[in-house]
Structures are given as structure tokens and as C-alpha cells.
């Protein structure tokens, strides 16, 4: 079934097709929840909506419901994801398969509603897996995949889409039918849950050595999540004809320079790569779809033949550099065999500033003209 949907509606459909049971909602994501409520009411599934007054509360509701064995859905956005921070740890260390959709927004004092990835990237160390999506279709498909991954490895996950740049754009979306989704995504069955017939305590007072062990197991589960995510995407592709890969190589064949980026920036970069190729320039694109666990092995192999790598970040870690740049660099150089490519770190379009094709063009020009980057962080399109 094809429909014209905004990205927010695509989120609602993704959650609806995943048969979510408890929906914890607060105000800023009203459109998603409204649409989801309409869908759930129409077919009388009896999904429970709990309306609370903050996102911290929303995730607390989600964590409680997930611990009771239900499939849980909630939404957040920038200033509303941040109050969830403590609860993010609670969910991951309790190994609860909660899925949160984050509508990426910049973190600025004025409460800007433009896009920016810092809200989700700042939570990279909380033990949640993280998908960064490019389009409405990808968002919907990824939500369904996320539930499968989450319930298999018992780790919570964030599915990220860009505010404004994508969240309000109307695009055709192919909605898979419920029967096929049910075949792909089995009902949520947790062994450890709050059950009066088998009483256990959750998140109880604990010793350092046990907590240490929890982190070790979480790291192991992240390793497993990589394989599970790869398989989840393969199976999805077989069933619905749409696969995305954990990373996507676009025109990387024989590319000397590869641009690495994520999220909605990818759309613009794709366009520029096409233009470059039309002019006979050997430029390719590597899109990083899964940010946590970071698919280092896939990235290493994708970039193994490139002479130059340009990482395009939409965010910066002040005092260090682009966040994706750090991740890519460490996955290229910290493990043998070491790759000799020169890695350029660009920061573009922070806080929702427009990332037009000419900015990406500047990235290509800068990289092709130089053997090595002149500075660690190359700021483009910024007022100085």
C-alpha cells in the first residue's frame, strides 16, 4: 500500500505495524501520537496510551511497561530526549527492549526547532543502539527492524530522523501489509519480567563487581547486535524488497575520494557525487546508517581502497572535533591492517544551517586539492 506521508506519519505507521502495546507520550511529538492513536483506535487492538507531562516521565512509563513484558514505543526530540538521560541507562542496563524515535533537533539555548544530531549523538555511550535515517521510507522500515533487533539482543534502541529537514516533508511511502510484518516481527516474549507468579526484583541494589559484569555483557550484546542488525536488514530486504545495509556504499567503485556522512545530509551528498561522477571525477559516498554499535569492520572494508576520506559531520564535540570523524578515524587507524588514507574532518550546517550542494562541493574541492587536511576540524559555511 503506497501513501503520501510526512515523516512523522511514517513513524506512526512503523510503530503501528510493529504492534506496539504501550505508548508513552508527552506533548512535543503530538502529531506522531495522534496518528498512532487514530490507527490503534480504528482496529480496536486495545493498545494503551499513557499521557504524561514530560519525556523523562514518558521513558519512565516505557521502562516500567517494558519490564512488565510489553512492546513499548515512545518519541522524543532534542530538549526532550535529554531529560531521558538517566532513564536511558536504566533501560539499557536493565536490558529492556524499548524503542525510542528521536526527531533530531539542535541543542541550543533558544530552543531552535531546526535539525542537528547532537541530541542523539550525545547519548552514544548509554548502551542504546542508534539508527540514523535518510528518508520517510527508511524511518518506517527501520522502526520495524529496530523492534526485532532490540528484542533479540535485549538492548534498547533509538531511531533517528531529522527535524524540519525531513519530519514535515511529504513523500510517497510504501507501507507493508500487517501479515508480512507479523511474519517478520514475532510477538515480544521476555523471559525476565515483572510477573507475580515468578517474582524477581528489577534494578535492585547491587555490588560494583556485578555492575561491572553488566557493562561487559552489554558490550558483548552490542557485538551481537551488529550481526543481528545485519540479518534483520537482509531478511527485511528479502521480504519487502527494501534493504539498506548498516552502511551504504554509493558509487564507491574505483572511488579515490569517499565522502562519509549520515542522516538527511546523505541526500544532498548523493546529488553532488552524481555530478562529480558525470564529470568523470572518482568520488563516492559512504552512508553510515547504524551509529551504535559502530560498524567499524564494514567501514574499514568500504574505505580500504580510497586514497582520501572526507567525513562530513553535522555536529561537533567542542574541544575535539566532528563526532563521526572521531569514530571513522578510530576505526581506520586503531586496528591492523592500518589504512593509509588521509582523513579530512568537515563540520557543516550546525544547528540546522542549510547544507546546500555548493557546501558539499566545497568539501570535494578542498579534499581533492590537498594531500592532507590543514586543520583537524574544517568548518564550512560558517560566519567567522
Amino acid at each position: 500500500m503506497k501513501k503520501m506521508l510526512t515523516e512523522k506519519e511514517a513513524v506512526s505507521w512503523g510503530a503501528y505495524r510493529s504492534r506496539v502495546q504501550v505508548i508513552a507520550a508527552s506533548t512535543p511529538e503530538d502529531l506522531i501520537v495522534e496518528e498512532l492513536a487514530t490507527l490503534c483506535t480504528e482496529d480496536k487492538r486495545g493498545a494503551k496510551f499513557v499521557m504524561v507531562r514530560s519525556e523523562q516521565a514518558a521513558l519512565a512509563v516505557g521502562v516500567g511497561a517494558s519490564a512488565t513484558g510489553s512492546r513499548v514505543f515512545t518519541v522524543a526530540s532534542a530538549h526532550s530526549l535529554v531529560p531521558m538521560h538517566e532513564l536511558l541507562y536504566k533501560a539499557s542496563l536493565s536490558r529492556l527492549p524499548v524503542v525510542v524515535v528521536d526527531i533530531n533537533r539542535a541543542m541550543v539555548p533558544g530552543g531552535l526547532t531546526w535539525t542537528g544530531q547532537i541530541d542523539s549523538l550525545a547519548h552514544r555511550d548509554t548502551g542504546w543502539f542508534q539508527f540514523h535515517c535518510e528518508s520517510s521510507q527508511e524511518v518506517m522500515d527501520t522502526i520495524i527492524q529496530a523492534y526485532r533487533i532490540s528484542e533479540q539482543v535485549l538492548l534498547p534502541g533509538i531511531v533517528v530522523l531529522a527535524a524540519s529537514a525531513a519530519s514535515h516533508a511529504v513523500k510517497p511511502v510504501d507501507i507493508p501489509n500487517q501479515k508480512s510484518v507479523d511474519r517478520y516481527l514475532k510477538p515480544c516474549r521476555l523471559i525476565n519480567k515483572l510477573d507475580v507468579n515468578d517474582p524477581h526484583s528489577f534494578a535492585v541494589l547491587d555490588t560494583p563487581e556485578n555492575c561491572y559484569e553488566s557493562y561487559y555483557k552489554m558490550q558483548k550484546a552490542m557485538g551481537k547486535a551488529l550481526q543481528v542488525a545485519e540479518k534483520a536488514d537482509d531478511d527485511y530486504g528479502k521480504l519487502f524488497g527494501r534493504g539498506y545495509g548498516l552502511v551504504e556504499k554509493y558509487r564507491c567503485q574505483g572511488a579515490e575520494t569517499i565522502l562519509v556522512t549520515y542522516g538527511t545530509i546523505t541526500g544532498t551528498v548523493r546529488e553532488v557525487v552524481d555530478q562529480q561522477r558525470a564529470r568523470g571525477k572518482k568520488v563516492g559516498l559512504l552512508k553510515v546508517r547504524l551509529f551504535r554499535p559502530f560498524p567499524a569492520r564494514l567501514i574499514r572494508s568500504a574505505l580500504s581502497k580510497a586514497r582520501k576520506v572526507a567525513v562530513i559531520d553535522g555536529e561537533v564535540s567542542p574541544g575535539s572535533g566532528g563526532i563521526l570523524h572521531q569514530e571513522v578515524t578510530s576505526s581506520l587507524f586503531k586496528v591492523k591492517p592500518r589504512l593509509k588514507a588521509a582523513v579530512f574532518g568537515f563540520v557543516v550546517g550546525l544547528s540546522g544551517d542549510d547544507i546546500a550542494p555548493d557546501i558539499i562541493q566545497k568539501v570535494v574541492d578542498y579534499t581533492t586539492k590537498r594531500q592532507e587536511p590543514e586543520e583537524k576540524v574544517i568548518w564550512l559555511g560558517v560566519k567567522r
Binding site: 494503551k48 523523562q56 516521565a57 517474582p199 524477581h200 528489577f202 534494578a203
Partner: protein
Amino acid sequence: MRHVLPRSQVQNFKIPKMEIMGSGHSICPGCGISLSLRYALKGLGRKTILVVPACCCSNADGSLLYTAANVPVFYAAYGTAAFAVSGIRAALDFQGKTDVQVVLWAADSNNRNFEFWTMNGADRREENFICVCCDDQAAIKARFPKSDFRGGLVEIMAARGISYAATASVAYPDDFIDKFHKAKRINGTRLIHIHLPCPPLWKISANLSIQMARLAVQTRLFPLYEVENGEKYTVNVIPDRGFPVEEFLRPQGRFQHLTNMQTEVIQKDVERNWKSLLNRAAE
């Protein structure tokens, strides 16, 4: 001492001999929290899920591998216990397990300060749960105790018209267990405010704790009563003669600084509150 228990629903209720709570809790000697949990579970039965925020009550269940509650316990993050309750309730309702009670079990100042506003929200959502405040008066250690003896929690929640609000004391186990058993049979937001002693804070020896808890009721500092639907007041325990508050205050190290004049102020306050409570019950 006269006990008034005019409750038709619980006429045939006998305190079960069976213990749900096991050994292994890590509560201090003489503290009323472990006793409260033991009594409460007798009234509530096994179909109970406890939600505990970070507070003294976190110890009531013991630590990992040695938990004592014998019912499922969920430890909520700071200031989110009532929301966790809502999530658990929603999941149980979705699964059709409507006979399972969700109980927010919080201690000391936590419930009054940290969790109170979340409880307010739960009440606004007309959440179906029992909220328990184990009040060891820890919040008042640095303050003049006058206002805190008023049992304001029950009054506030009763004013919001919740289906059941009651006080209970560990020194009156029959009344205590009865109230939990009664609360279990009512739907909607229910509150039970438990008064219990904290020996290190009150600066009393552990063997005096039940005696002190009883004196709080006998001096009418902490009256045992209940409010149904915010309207129907019932005073459950009416002391034959009210002991002077001094009897409760004097043995406690924490009140050694009180002057006679201050004690008199407390006495007057207590009498005024007691009279107004009796008036409400007579209406």
C-alpha cells in the same frame, strides 16, 4: 483504648498466618519499614508488584541475589516512581492482568518531596494504584516538627477526591493490615500514609520503636483514620484518654532542645487538629 472498625467489606477478613515476605532484608534494627512491608503484603497478597524509588525502602527488599519481598519489585529512577507505576499498570491492563495490584512503596522525605508531584500526576491520570508513604519523619530532622505532624498527605489527596486515603501505624498491626486489605478491593488512586519510627534519626534505642510509634497515636499526634472518596471520614482508633505530647517527645533525642513553651504550642496544635478531625468524621 477503643478500636472502631465499621467496615462491612472486611468483616470476615482474618490476618493470614502465612508470611509472604522472607528473610534477607537489609533494614536497620528497630526500623518500621521491614515490619510495614511484612504487614502490607499480608493484606495485599501475592498478586502485588512493588515500585520503589531510591529511598530507605530500597533496602527493604535486600540486595541482589538475597531479595526478601517475594513479590516482583521494580526500582524506579529518582522522581519517576509514579510514572513507572503507570507503565506497569498499562502493560498489566493490556495483558488482561487486572487483578494484580501495583503499589508505589516509598519512604521518608522521598515521597513527600521527590515523588509527591509525580503522584499528583498519577492522580490526575486517574491511575489505578496504591501509593504508600513510609513516613519516618526524616524530612523534619532540621525543622520544628509542628506542621509535619498534621498528616497533610492524606488531607491533600483526600481533597483531590481519591477513592481511598488512610493513615496507618506499625504499632497497630490489625488496623494496618485491614487497611491494605480494604485498599486492595477499591479501584482508583489509593494512598496509605504509614507512620513508623527511625531509631537513629529519632535518637531512641531500637527496642523502644514500637512503643514510640504507639505513643504517636495515643498522644493523637498521628491519628489513625481513613477517608473514602474524599468525603467519608472514619477515625479508626480513638484513645480513651489522650496522653500529653510530651510523652512522645521527651524520650527522643531529636526533641531534647524543645522548651516547655514549644511543647505547649505543639500540644495546642495537636488538640486543634484532633478536634477538627473528629468534626469531619461526625459530619
